[in-house]
């Protein structure tokens, strides 16, 4: 399986504070790769660098054989990023927001319609899309944003805590949507500290703490290696 994204020796520091101390991982085509770790471990920083929001302090990132740091414009055409605390323009109607975002990626009006139709199907919000985003619940907004992230069928979707703050049913729905799109060819790099979510969603997992990757593998491999019943025990074991 070829790599969509290859990260080698990635470092990031904010002044004297080291956020990433040289991490390595890769995301293969058609897989969900999850970074799990406690708050402040470096998950969001990693995702932001891959999403071309932040610059790295060292290391190499290759995206589809292109240097991500040197060709951010190329990368932005192929990826989509869903930040943990993302919002949408509150005065826009849901449908207008989707059209606005689709317009950045579509080359023709037909393509724009195709993207928006797909997003409408993902959200399952129906007529509520004709109302302003400011009136949506957190779950509705998150679904709208996820639909925005997946509607273009990006090569790589970068999802930071995709189910953060959602109730059980909404979180389940979001996970199902992500899995469905992976089947259609989108690779996913996500972060989470919800171990259950990771087991359900991820093909492979990278355990990250204090800016270092502690271990990488499929959930089954990691559980076997650490002789653990679940990912929470795996994580505790790897920290030791």
């Amino acid at each position: 399986m070829s790599n969509v994204l290859t990260v080698r020796g990635l470092k990031k520091s904010y002044g004297a504070q080291m956020a990433l101390a040289g991490i390595d991982f890769e995301v293969r085509a058609g897989e969900v790769f999850a970074l799990i770790g406690p708050n402040g471990a470096g998950k969001t920083t990693t995702l932001r660098i891959v999403a071309t929001l932040l610059t790295s302090s060292g290391g190499e990132i290759t995206f589809l054989d292109h240097d991500l740091c040197k060709e951010p414009d190329f990368v932005r055409e192929k990826i989509s990023y869903l930040p943990e605390e993302a919002g949408a323009y509150k005065d826009m109607k849901g449908l207008d927001y989707l059209h606005f975002m689709a317009n950045f990626y579509a080359r023709t009006p037909e393509e724009e319609k195709e993207f928006v139709d797909r997003a409408v199907a993902i959200t399952e919000l129906g007529d509520r899309l004709k109302t302003k985003v400011g009136t949506y619940s957190k779950g509705m907004t998150r679904k709208l944003l996820l639909a925005r992230a997946l509607m273009t069928k990006p090569v790589l979707a970068i999802l930071d805590e995709p189910t953060s703050g959602l109730d059980v049913l909404n979180a389940l729905e979001v996970r199902e949507i992500v899995r469905r799109y992976v089947k259609e060819g989108t690779s996913v790099l996500l972060s989470s500290h919800n171990m259950l979510e990771i087991e359900f969603l991820s093909d492979r997992v990278g355990l990250i703490d204090k800016g270092l990757i502690l271990d990488t593998g499929t959930p089954t491999e990691l559980k076997d290696k650490h002789q653990a019943k679940n990912m929470e025990e795996v994580f505790r074991s790897s920290l030791r």
Binding site: A19, R48, L53, D73, P83, A86, G87, F104
Partner: protein
């Protein structure tokens, strides 16, 4: 281009919201209202005013004085037969703005060429300037009468002499020279007319700069507050396009808002300055003087002035963009406009009270370093033919704009767009 247009449309739609339309409509209504009210007051003041007169003398001279007032469009309420106290009381309770008391012996004193006294009692029922106009007119009538009486007297005593020459043996004929042009007139009048002509420039500039800058800063703060900035920065559109779209949208809406504001403001001034049209002949004389001295703008002059204001707006927008990055939310965005406001206010006030070209060197350098000083100086420099100074000002503003845009683009293309923050009363934020 499709992506840029997409973003520009969104920025414009975001700015043209209910609040903007309501505030603009409110401005138009309020200014129109003030204009109408002022117009009414001015009309009242210009129209026939009532004053009371108590002529205790009854001489030909006292009657001439009252007649003089009647011819100056006053309605005279005759209080003859009353005591002074009764007349004051009657005038106070009535609608008279002023009571004129001509004491007995007024005519006789005049004939004997002794100083003759009259008394005026002004009833101040309001403290507006228009309200006090009554006494000013009475004083000018008395001055005119004094003039006529003393002229008559001088003619009587010295029939071969011109009274005017006797009273003012020295006459001054004033000339004003501007560069190589000379015309008869007073320097005071010229300075007054120039300040009147260029009064609108600082107001227009101030309005557009404040409106547009506030919009840019708020637009950036909104992106941060609504957590939409990170998403916008990862979509396939150049960072410079994001900056340009935000600046262009704010510039356009700022220009329209300032236009509406100026239109309403002009309407209000038009209401107050009703008399201006009547003073047409006088203004015409002034205009002829300005024309002779070359103190008028031709098309090139207006183009240079427009260019200067346009560059100042661009500088303000670029500055606002950088300040907007520092704002974390809408609340802090309100503080961010302060440095810009001061930068416009400093040259504005200095240009009112002092000649920027004549201040001390350090102060001059300080003022010239503020890009917004240059549009204030353009009209003066155009009048005085300081084209080098104008070109330097335009060049300087262009340079500042380019540097600011490069700086803004750098901020947008690095981590600083997400990590640069300015918090009020708090220590530097930790980065997640």
């Amino acid at each position: 281009m499709r992506r840029f247009t997409n973003l520009l449309k969104k920025e414009i739609k975001e700015l043209v919201n209910k609040q903007l339309i309501i505030s603009l409509a409110f401005t138009v209504i309020i200014f129109n209202f003030i204009g109408q009210v002022s117009k009414k007051e001015v009309r009242k003041a210009i129209g026939v005013q009532t004053i009371s007169a108590l002529d205790q003398d009854g001489s030909a001279a006292s009657q001439a004085l009252v007649k003089g007032l009647e011819s100056a469009r006053f309605k005279i309420l005759d209080q003859s037969g009353k005591t002074k106290e009764e007349a004051i009381e009657a005038a106070r309770t009535g609608e008279s703005k002023l009571l004129l008391v001509i004491p007995a012996g007024f005519g006789a004193s005049l004939t004997e060429l002794k100083p003759s006294e009259i008394e005026t009692y002004s009833f101040m029922r309001s403290f507006s300037l228009i309200g006090a106009r009554g006494q000013v007119v009475v004083q000018s009538v008395i001055t005119a009468l004094n003039e006529a009486l003393s002229n008559n007297f001088l003619k009587e005593k010295l029939p071969d002499m011109d009274p005017a020459s006797l009273k003012k043996p020295i006459k001054s004929k004033d000339f004003v020279i501007v560069q190589d042009k000379m015309a008869e007139g007073s320097a005071n009048d010229v300075a007054g007319m120039i300040s009147q002509q260029s009064m609108l420039i600082p107001i227009v500039l101030f309005m557009i700069v404040i409106y547009s800058s506030q919009m840019v800063i708020s637009a950036m703060a909104m992106e941060k507050q609504n957590k939409t900035l990170e998403t916008l920065l990862t979509v396939p559109i150049k960072r410079t396009s994001i900056i340009t779209a935000k600046m262009l949208a704010a510039g356009l809406i700022g220009l329209i808002s300032a236009g509406v504001y100026m239109f309403s403001f002009k309407g209000m001034l038009g209401g107050i300055g009703e008399e201006a049209a009547k003073a047409g002949a006088q203004a015409g004389g002034g205009a002829a003087l300005m024309q002779k001295l070359g103190l008028t703008f031709d098309t090139t002059g207006y183009v240079i002035l427009g260019l200067s204001i346009f560059l100042a707006i661009l500088v303000a927008l670029a500055m606002a963009m950088i300040l907007g990055v520092l704002a974390e939310d809408l609340r802090s965005a309100q503080y961010m406009i302060m440095p810009l406001m001061f930068m416009v206010m400093i040259p504005y006030f200095i240009s009112i009270f002092a000649d920027i070209n004549a201040v001390s060197l350090p102060l001059k350098i300080f003022i010239l370093a503020i890009p917004f000083s240059h549009p204030f100086m353009v009209s003066q420099n155009l009048y005085l033919g300081n084209y080098g100074m104008i070109a330097a000002g335009l060049g300087y503003m262009l340079l500042v704009f380019i540097v600011l845009v490069i700086f803004a683009a750098r901020i947008f293309s690095t981590d600083k767009i997400l990590t640069m923050k300015l918090r009020f009363g708090k220590k530097k934020a930790a980065v997640a």
